[in-house]
Structure formats: structure tokens, C-alpha cells
């Protein structure tokens, strides 16, 4: 009787500890994996080019894995003059106040941001480019002589900021 109880209790405890260890390993592994992805992700913006209503952003991947991008902020000469955030779904105009609002990203991002297989992707040691079109709004355009800033957010959390005079 005592042996049976010992065996049953021991096996239960063993299983419980094993399952807890598995959960802990899984959580820790996911955390480390995220950190490793962050460390392996590196990219720079060497150049941009403008038209009056669009900006083409060139991205060079000097990391250790192909990369995708989830958000791009375009602003300048100050954030209060123009500030637009592009993400997977929308282009959100924060400034100028007269143009505030959201527009579907599909018509403004070429190719699209995000982590889908069809989204913009750059292979290791390759350059890639994507074009962000300004939402249609009176007074929202790139002006010659102004400096505009681009802040790109990689899928694993790295950012790169670049500025260039139009």
C-alpha cells in the first residue's frame, strides 16, 4: 500500500516538475530567441529620394538574417510641420493638424510593410527600396530645401533614423 502511494505520488510530482521545467524552458527559449533576433537584425538607410508627394527609402541589410519592417515614420522639418506614421495597415497623419486621420496603407506603401511573405523584405547584404506616398491632403507635400527625417522600425525592434534635404 505504502509503495503504491509512493509510486503514484512520486510519478505525479515527477510529471508536474517536468511540465513546469518545460514551460520555463519554453518561456526562456522564446525570450532568448527574441533577443537573438534583435541582435542579428541590423540595417541602415543610406539614401532616400523624393518627389513632391512620395519618398523612396533605400534600406541596406547588414545584419545576419533577412529582414522585414513594421513601421516607418516620416517627419520634417519638424514633427509639428509634418509627421506621418506608416504601419502594416494604415498611414496615420499626426501633423499638420488639418490633415490628421488614417488612410489605408494599401494604396500608399509600395511594397507593403509588415511580416507577411509578400511584404517588403531585404536579404542579407542586399539593398532594397520602398516608396511611401503621402496621403492626399491639401498642404501635405515635400518641399524643396526642407530636411525630412525617416525612422524605420525593424520587425525585431531595431530602428534606424536618416535625414536628407529634399
Amino acid at each position: 500500500m505504502t509503495m503504491a502511494i509512493t509510486l503514484a505520488a512520486g510519478t505525479t510530482v515527477f510529471s508536474y516538475v517536468r511540465s513546469q521545467a518545460n514551460l520555463s524552458e519554453l518561456a526562456y527559449g522564446q525570450n532568448v530567441g527574441g533577443t537573438l533576433n534583435f541582435l542579428q537584425e541590423r540595417f541602415v538607410i543610406p539614401q532616400v529620394s523624393y518627389t513632391s508627394n512620395s519618398i523612396t527609402i533605400y534600406v541596406y541589410n547588414n545584419g545576419q538574417a533577412p529582414d522585414q519592417f513594421t513601421q516607418i515614420e516620416v517627419y520634417g522639418p519638424t514633427r509639428s510641420a509634418m509627421d506621418i506614421v506608416y504601419d502594416t495597415n494604415y498611414a496615420t497623419v499626426n501633423n499638420p493638424p488639418s490633415c490628421r486621420g488614417q488612410t489605408a496603407a494599401a494604396s500608399l506603401e509600395t511594397p507593403r510593410l509588415g511580416v507577411l511573405p509578400t511584404s517588403f523584405s531585404v536579404r542579407v547584404n542586399y539593398d532594397g527600396s520602398l516608396t511611401m506616398t503621402l496621403p492626399t491632403c491639401s498642404g501635405l507635400s515635400f518641399q524643396a530645401g526642407n530636411t525630412y527625417f525617416v525612422k524605420v522600425l525593424g520587425q525585431y525592434g531595431n530602428t534606424a533614423v536618416y535625414s536628407q534635404v529634399m
Binding site: T2, M3, I5, T6, L7, G10, T11, V13, F14, V17, R18, A21, S24, E25, Y28, G29, V32, T35, L36, L39, Q40, R42, F43, V44, P46, Q47, S49, Y50, Y58, Y60, N62, Q64, V122, R123, N125, Y126, D127, G128, S129
Partner: protein, 333 residues
């Protein structure tokens, strides 16, 4: 019996679950350390990249060309070139683009080497801005036609003027005397443009103030062969004679107490005083040159060592800096 079974179960649990967990954590930590190290190395390598880009027109076809010279202590790889031309015309070349240069990118540029590529753009009137991107993610710019500023910068970088700004009027001469029992100390005498010849029969030393104005804003580490030399050519117009030279090697100091030279780094933009007092490199051997009265000497500052290399890594196998700067004349009267 139940106790034995419980013990067996407990130990089995500890060894299987505990050991497995420990090994897993250890492996994860190894991955983390390796990736952190790789990223740090990559970022450091990118910061150390020094490429000089110059532009030109290919003879015959008037194509826009660019020449990239590698001034870093390691090899570099050019992966892309961006060109913005007159009227905002824009061109891209390299990996990931449909266009490429001749020869095609990527192109490796070894340490101290250079590579010239033809963009195929027929030069029109106006300004072209070129940007070269390396495999490590560095970018380096140039314009065509080259601006006066960039030409001056290149001249500075190539040593035509010199990276070190020598403050002309700071030249000072000293007597070197024994102090504190066995130590050697500086005893300031005055500016170093004229020195009593009799004083040179005893050890003398010099100091000058220098500022590192390296055009790339990089630090310069001086090695023990850095010296101040005074050269005496044959007497002018005599049709012969004997040239002589005297040299004081760099030493270290704490206030006016001297010691043998220990490696020193000139930080960009910071003015420091260098002391020259020894007759041999890396030692403190006070020097009494014994120069005759009426001798006018030509002074040169010879600097040598490393640029943009960590002080601990500044060894003879990777010395990448050396300049000779004509500086002053000193009369021994």
C-alpha cells in the same frame, strides 16, 4: 522499501529534469553571448571603416567614375553606389538593384588599396552627389565636380598638410636635471628658438603643444619612435661639408618629473604638450648634443604610430600612421 523507491524517484527527477534544465539554460546563454559578441564586433568594424571617395570623368567617353581608397586597417567591400545628378536624376547600382557599375559591384578593396568603377553616366553640366555603401553598412560621400572643401580634406587626410596642428610658439626648451635623488626633471628655460650653445653640453629637452585635427576625427596613438629632430645641413655655399642631426625621442612626464615613454593617444581636438628628452626610443636617456655656437638647426617633428586603432592593439605589425612635419629653426648662440 517505499523510502528507497521515493529516493530513486527523487534522484531520477533531479538528474533528468535538473540536468536537462541546466544544460538548456547554459546553451541559451552561449547563444546569447555569441550573438552579442558578433554584433559588437560588427558595429566596431563598421565604425572603423575609413574609405575616401574621389570622383572623375573617364577619358574618352566622359563617364562619371569614382575611385574608392581604403584607409582602414582591414579589407572592405563595396556593395552599392547611389548617384544623385542634376535635376534630381537618381541612379542606383549594386546588389539588389537592376543596374550595376563596370566592373560590377560588389568589389573588395584591400587595406591601402583602391578601386575605380565606371557608372556609365555621361556627365552633364551640374553637380553629382555620390554615396558609396559598404558591406558593413558604412556610407561615404563625394561630389562631382569635387568641392574645394573635399579636396582640402583629402589633402589633410593624405598628409599633405598634416593631421597634427603644431602650435608654433609653444616650442619650449628645458634643462634636464637630477631631482628627488635619482629622478630626472625638467627645468624650464624659455622659448626654444634660441639656446645658448654652452647649455647643449648638458642634457636639454623640448616641449611643443599639438592638437590632433585628423580630418576623420579619429584618435592617433603615438609610438616610442616619435621624436623631434634638429638637422644641420652642410654650410650654404661652401660646396661641401658635413650634415649632422640630433634627435630627442618622446618621453612621458608627470608635471616636471620625466619617465620613459609609455604609449599615449592624442584624442581628436584636444591639445596636449609633448616632451622630447631622450637620446633613444622607449627609454629615458637624457641627451646633451653638444652643438657649436653659431649653429642654426632645422627642426622636424616626426610622429609615428596608429590611427583609429585601440591603444593596446597599436603594435608594429599594424602601425598605420607616420608623418614628418617641418616645424622650427633653433639657433645655438
Amino acid at each position: 522499501m517505499a523510502g528507497i523507491i521515493a529516493s530513486v524517484l527523487l534522484f531520477a527527477m533531479l538528474f533528468s529534469v535538473g540536468t536537462g534544465y541546466f544544460l538548456f539554460i547554459n546553451t541559451m546563454n552561449s547563444f546569447y553571448v555569441k550573438n552579442l559578441s558578433d554584433r559588437t564586433s560588427a558595429m566596431q568594424a563598421q565604425l572603423n571603416e575609413i574609405l575616401q571617395v574621389s570622383t572623375g570623368a573617364a577619358s574618352g567617353n566622359n563617364h562619371l567614375t569614382l575611385t574608392v581608397t581604403n584607409k582602414e586597417p582591414t579589407d572592405s567591400n563595396i556593395t552599392a553606389v547611389y548617384v544623385t545628378g542634376p535635376a534630381s536624376a537618381f541612379y542606383t547600382y549594386g546588389i539588389g538593384f537592376s543596374s550595376n557599375t563596370t566592373p560590377a559591384l560588389p568589389i573588395g578593396v584591400g587595406q591601402g588599396g583602391s578601386a575605380t568603377v565606371d557608372t556609365g553616366i555621361v556627365i552633364q553640366s551640374g553637380v553629382y552627389t555620390l554615396k558609396v555603401v559598404t558591406q558593413r553598412g558604412g556610407s561615404f560621400s563625394a561630389t562631382y565636380p569635387e568641392t574645394a572643401v573635399s579636396l582640402a580634406s583629402q589633402a589633410l587626410a593624405s598628409g599633405a598638410i598634416g593631421d597634427l596642428y603644431l602650435q608654433f610658439h609653444s616650442l619650449t626648451w628645458y634643462k634636464v636635471v637630477t631631482c628627488n635623488g635619482t629622478q630626472q626633471c625638467l627645468q624650464r628655460q624659455g622659448i626654444g628658438f634660441a639656446i645658448p650653445a654652452s647649455s647643449s653640453n648638458s642634457p636639454i629637452a623640448f616641449s611643443i603643444q599639438v592638437t590632433n585635427l585628423n580630418s576623420l576625427q579619429q584618435n592617433i596613438t603615438l609610438d616610442q619612435y616619435t621624436l623631434l629632430t634638429e638637422y644641420v645641413p652642410p654650410a650654404p655655399g661652401a660646396g661641401g661639408g658635413t650634415a649632422r642631426s640630433y634627435a630627442w625621442y618622446i618621453v612621458s612626464n608627470s608635471t616636471n618629473v620625466l619617465s620613459a615613454y609609455s604609449t599615449f593617444t592624442l584624442l581628436y581636438g584636444r591639445t596636449v604638450t609633448l616632451i622630447f628628452a631622450s637620446s633613444s626610443a622607449a627609454t629615458l636617456t637624457p641627451y646633451a648634443p653638444g652643438i657649436s655656437s653659431g649653429t642654426i638647426t632645422y627642426g622636424f617633428v616626426v610622429t609615428h604610430g596608429c590611427q583609429a586603432i585601440r591603444q593596446v592593439n597599436c603594435q608594429p605589425s599594424n602601425f598605420n600612421y607616420g608623418q614628418v612635419a617641418p616645424y622650427v629653426s633653433t639657433l645655438y648662440y
